[in-house]
Symmetry: D2
Subunit: 216 residues, 4 copies
Amino acid sequence: MNPIEKLTFQFERFPGIGPRQARRFVQYLLGSSPSSRNDLAEQIKSLGSFTAQCSQCFRWYAKREQKGDTLKSPGVKALPFCDICSDPNRDKSLLFVVEKDADIENVERSGFKGLYFVLGGTIPLAEEYPEKFVRTRELTARVEYDAVSQTLKELILGLSATTEGDHTRLILQEKLIPMSEKSAFKISSLGRGLSTGSELEYADPDTISEALGNRH
Amino acid sequence: MNPIEKLTFQFERFPGIGPRQARRFVQYLLGSSPSSRNDLAEQIKSLGSFTAQCSQCFRWYAKREQKGDTLKSPGVKALPFCDICSDPNRDKSLLFVVEKDADIENVERSGFKGLYFVLGGTIPLAEEYPEKFVRTRELTARVEYDAVSQTLKELILGLSATTEGDHTRLILQEKLIPMSEKSAFKISSLGRGLSTGSELEYADPDTISEALGNRH
Amino acid sequence: MNPIEKLTFQFERFPGIGPRQARRFVQYLLGSSPSSRNDLAEQIKSLGSFTAQCSQCFRWYAKREQKGDTLKSPGVKALPFCDICSDPNRDKSLLFVVEKDADIENVERSGFKGLYFVLGGTIPLAEEYPEKFVRTRELTARVEYDAVSQTLKELILGLSATTEGDHTRLILQEKLIPMSEKSAFKISSLGRGLSTGSELEYADPDTISEALGNRH
Amino acid sequence: MNPIEKLTFQFERFPGIGPRQARRFVQYLLGSSPSSRNDLAEQIKSLGSFTAQCSQCFRWYAKREQKGDTLKSPGVKALPFCDICSDPNRDKSLLFVVEKDADIENVERSGFKGLYFVLGGTIPLAEEYPEKFVRTRELTARVEYDAVSQTLKELILGLSATTEGDHTRLILQEKLIPMSEKSAFKISSLGRGLSTGSELEYADPDTISEALGNRH
């Protein structure tokens, strides 16, 4: 493979990118200036030095210096947790379990003020070892830790309203219910119903009965 | 216009049908047997004789003879109300206001056992005379009638989760709240949240905060 | 089945119509006036009396009285052929074989002035008896008849540029080539190449080599 | 902007990539190993050293050493032209003018054996200075050079079958016709017609008349 084909092949591994679009990306870079290519390369290379996965919520975040600014050079000492986990104003009694980082951005926009835990995906049906796919162990460790200090009052399971999401929710509930009984925190799930923009005519019976159940 | 063009033009007025599909319909009928064309024509012509709009819920229904069978000949005396409104086993304390007939089929599948009222659509924004678009007068008359016999305990507004649906809901609430206070029935709306199949990443902030509010 | 369900079922058999749209059609008709329903029914019922399948090109057409106007009453004697086949100004030396009636409308718009033959579809791959699917017998009879009067100079095979279209073309050529050699008419196929709106980047190799072969 | 947002912003400038997919790319890279990120960065950074734009056809190509292998280190002397332009077996009498690099890959698959010229796009309608958008000057210089050695016999304009493509073709023809008359080479355009997969019913009148004109 020549350098053009090799780079095309790299872009084909990006999520949602096929051979044709991968080739377009390479053409776009070939047509860019060397300095802007260097810029992009530098940013990709240093991504690891300036970012970290939060050891509490497992979300990726940009490291900041102790005073709060984004890190300028990789050597400087960074804050240990992400900006949400280290924010003293967040409500530590609420833990929102989400599938992936992108979910957090969306939930933040809705005004939620508690903390998060990024599970890392959903558990495939008929999968015997869920811990290979998602952070079930890390979640139970986190919950156990919170239980000691008795900060946790409610754990919200924010999984997709899909078959895999429901399956994942059941498995997590099984693991978490004994802990919730011992440490007196609540386990809740997101309410279902008509989502913005949807019409009764096209809603499925499950959504309608949930929407009826949640009427107010 | 010749007979082929005239019939094409008729089909173009069917909901969601453009000129190309209208022509396909005519070609399909040209290729059918005369007897099956006659059959279809007969069914369309007699639609009015064998169906009626329920004078209580305004839904279209197939007329039945007094004993319960579908009407065989147009002269026979039919039951005055649709099969849902005349069913003694339905819960008369619940009134579900929907936009159109198709919504009822969907709600029935979810197991709802109360009564319905078909509004006939939504009210366009900035429309001064809602009664020109939807059955607001018929709805208030119905509610007033129920109030006399004190059967109504809850009126559920089952409008689309769209801007027009919300607008319609507000106008109806304005009209209905004074009646509800006088006659002690509740006015409720369908719960919102994640609908089946949706993921947190793609949900809008409103849906997320409703889903959070409805968590259980 | 009640009258509403029965009519819904009839519309489900229309080309491209599923249960949901069929129900919408019935709702649309329920909401129409009885007179407009009667109108539609009349037009469907009389479709057969006012139209005929041309015995020369097999296209469906609106019957006209001897003077030329569209037929007003079913009893009157109509012209024997469709308006294209009976038009003395059409070029009888060119015969354009198309798959279906809708193709003719489209070809007419391109300014073609010859005659047509409607094959009735394409022949499925691996089908032993093509005459069950398309009018191969009627086509060879027509060509034989034209050969006697030596009017036919060129037969154009206007089939889809698809695998089934190509397959049908091969079978027709096999049957027609001996006749064309005896009666000295040409058999041609539509040129292939870039169609309006298409770009080189997305064209398949076949289309490109045809477009190269047809360059001018 | 922090490093995550900055890189997201870079990916948003990639062709066809919106904010959501840009974020997914960054998440994908955050989840990759540092070594694979370094790999990608290295390939992007060195893209310019190992590739060149052919000074004859203006296509981007991977530089090769004099013996023919892809360049291993940036210092080594590379062949001056791309592998197509420097291939002695290509037919130098045919020059295929295409819009972009990706077109060449497609034309190669169709078996074309001549040479290419990459125009760099199409000329917007009502644009006074076409040379700002596409390589009209470089094209005329190339044609003039070929004219001296009398190698060029035919120049094929392989533009999109779109309004802009047609407009570009007309402008190029205007510039090239005087040269073609002086130096006795032909200017041709790709044939149009039904492209693979298309049906007569959905073809536009232009495509049908071209397909009729190109029948064979």
